[in-house]
């Protein structure tokens, strides 16, 4: 029987993905029964989406690519 601590560590270390089948099954079974660990798992997923969203909205100058291309071409000619 896996403890909450073990499940949380397996989730945040991602060891759960490559773990043997019985461990993956035990983690899933634990999450289905334990509201505390399923909340922890949900928060890890929410952090992932919030970080992704935050960087997808990051603006970059529209001229970025052409400026870099010009500089690199200038460099390679010299």
């Amino acid at each position: 029987m896996l403890s909450c601590r073990a499940v949380s560590e397996l989730l945040s270390k991602e060891e759960f993905r490559d773990a043997p089948l019985w461990t993956r099954f035990a983690v899933k079974a634990h999450l289905a029964m334990c509201r505390r660990c399923s909340r922890f798992a949900r928060q890890l997923a929410q952090i992932r989406s919030a970080v992704r969203e935050s960087f997808s909205q990051q603006e970059a100058d529209p001229e970025l690519e052409s400026r870099i291309a010009q500089k690199i071409q200038h460099e390679t000619r010299n």
């Binding site: 949380s8 270390k13 991602e14 928060q43 919030a50 970080v51 990051q58 500089k71």
Partner: protein
Amino acid sequence: MAQAKERTAEIIALLRERDASTLAAVIQAHARRLYKMSRALGFDDHEAEDLVQDTFTVFLQTLDRFEGRSQVPTWLIGILYRKARERRREHVREQKFDPIDAVFESRFDLTGAWQKPPEDLERLFASKEIRGMISQCLNEVPFQQREVFLLREVEGLKTKEICKILDLSATHFGVLMHRARNRLRECLVAKGIKRN
């Protein structure tokens, strides 16, 4: 798959000849992503642009070493991260002790059960302030943990690719991810408590 490999080989051959339109196309395809990654690593807009430029310069200089074992984006990301470390003068060595490990342990009792339920962060994640909070909390994550976290969570790279780029073992990868995630979670919990 074989077609993609042939296409990559063709692009590399054209770049070796310094074909301007191929170079422009490669820059067009990858510069923005690399720029966003540099910003996520904590560089300002000018530094980030310089870093991307350096990355393409090194990419062109090292084309002969590119044997098609990795894809162009992974190769570019590897260069970007090495350059980023040089700029930050980061001495990447394993941190045996990190205070976040003790914070994680303190969440559980001797039997390994939660001392108390994890704080409810639903309202915080639904709020408009979350974006700013995420960025503040990310700044508190040490550089190497941030690198690993971003490559996995934002770029969605596989563990194997990340370990190759950053020269890490799978175990070390797990430790860094664990610390980054828990540090971010604890930081958001603290902000959530302050907000209420």
